[in-house]
Amino acid sequence: MNPGVALAALAVVSLATAVIGFYGLRISRTTGDFYVASRTVRPWWNASAIGGEYLSAASFLGVAGLILLSGTDALWFPVGYTAGYLMLLLFVAAPLRRSGAYTIPDFTEARLDSRAVRRVTSLVVVLVGWLYIVPQLHGAALTIRITTGLPSWAGSVAVVVVVCLTVVAGGMRSITFVQAFQYWLKLTALAVPILFIIFVLAGNGTPALAPPVANPTGLAPAGLYQNVSLLVALLFGTLGLPHVLVRFYTNPDGQSARRTTLIVLGLLSVFYLFPTAYGLVGRIFAPGLARSGQADAMVLLLPGELVGGTAGDLLSALVVAGAFAAFLSTTSGLVVSLAGVISQDVLGGGVDGFRLAAVVSALVPLGFALMTDSFALAGSVGLVFAFTASTVCPVLLLGIWWRGLTDAGAIAGMLTGGVLCGGAMVVGAMAGASSTPAWLAQPAAWTVPGAFAVMVMVSRATVHRVPKTMSRVMTRLHTPERPLATER
């Protein structure tokens, strides 16, 4: 495709992000604004922002790429990404909002009355965030290389620079507007090209569905264990993601946190129809894209491949813009939540500390992304979900619903889950994708129950450590706000 068109698309998205970010600067004044947008964001804005933040490189590029490679097996990814929000709604949304905490470490500290738990949670949250930013930067590198021919690092660096500028300038208030804008941009950028393509192809009739292409990754087709384990990771990983959770503090009360989640579910359901359509169309009409070993770039290449000409160039530019919106929004959401954690724990709060922490939390994963190569985006994000499901998820679920949780149990469980899942990820990465057995490649099915079991057993053994504040905190988590805040 035409590099000039792609570069122009990038420039426009970055500029729009920066402008909306600076516009937000004028209305963010206090520390409260910086952290959680003063809890006054309306549900529709908030839901669009959550959607914008959540739909990352994995959703925008990775899902379609995986569907192209492995067909219906890969459909479990978008289903899991969406159903994870259902779990979040059922078990976490309202209580977490009612806890009144700013970040996940705030929550665990308040619930378990322990500074040590706070430190371990902070460590885990920062790790999760960094692990999650790396695939975003890989996606940016891939997009830049494929569409403009520039070296890969330029893409990662561009994303980090724009994110740092936006976050440092405006904090969460402006981020909310930026994210909301980016959800709708991403949706448009996927929907318009694929509808155009389907319209063009409709006249030509439907050829037979191409048989699965000659498995270019060398991976065995997913068995029952892998699909189940993947679903465990996605269902339980979503409710521990720091950048998703921080959004719930911006709701005015528990019931509106639930309503926001319902809108998010609708937005995600509509969005995921399109990567699925790309995957199906790609499988039928352009199976060659899978053989080139760059399935992740399929969404970017399909318009040029199937439409071509000026129309193809314009559609490609739109897709590139949407892809960059995905990298920018997820990265900035993660950077904001990491900066919140780091600045409160290490730098003592305050706006300057937040800015410094934001820059640090963007630069570390940049270094890691530049040193490593990307493999399938949806797969590597799936592993981050497995890690979250094995660490943050148990402490949240048990903390909200079980009175018996103790600080010792929480720490032991998080460390167990982190070591088991982190170990599986490291061993799997060293062994290479083709020689990793299924139970190591998709560890969630055993690391998540393991973390839960350790957390419960150690808590049972240390019953005397149940905090005195426990029943107060449980009351605050679960009782509705007064006066009748739901009637609005």
């Binding site: 259902l86 059922l90 078990f91 579910l265 359901s269 409160q344 305050g350 605050r476 679960h478």
Partner: protein
């Protein structure tokens, strides 16, 4: 005029909330709270398992009826429609039902707590 340094509260407890909890410190208050938590947890578990059952039934259905996965509806294989489109309304419906029932549990609790 003095300048005040604004810092983040670590756990942000609010006066209004403190009173909300204090009101429930009595024995009876705690009974109500415990029963609210139990009913909310039961509701969440019921909705979650219902959803997972339906989700699990989808691939079973495809495996049980031979040829169904390949049947074309408007050019799209049925397996793709089921997993790629059909599951989302199920998710949305589960969420909507849950929100209604959860709000009902809460208003029942509110009635009990206010009557006291």
């Amino acid at each position: 005029m003095t300048r005040v340094r604004v810092t983040a509260p670590r756990t942000a407890p609010r006066p209004a909330k403190e009173s909300r909890e204090a009101a429930q410190d009595s024995e009876v208050g705690q009974v109500f709270v415990r029963s609210l938590i139990r009913s909310q947890l039961r509701l969440a578990l019921v909705v979650a398992s219902g959803f997972l059952l339906i989700l699990g039934a989808f691939p079973l259905l495809l495996a049980a009826v031979p040829g169904l996965a390949e049947t074309r509806v408007a050019g799209v294989p049925f397996a793709w429609l089921l997993l790629g489109v059909g599951i989302y309304p199920v998710i949305g419906l589960s969420a909507w039902l849950y929100i209604r029932m959860a709000a009902r549990n809460e208003s029942r609790y509110r009635d009990l707590a206010d009557d006291r």
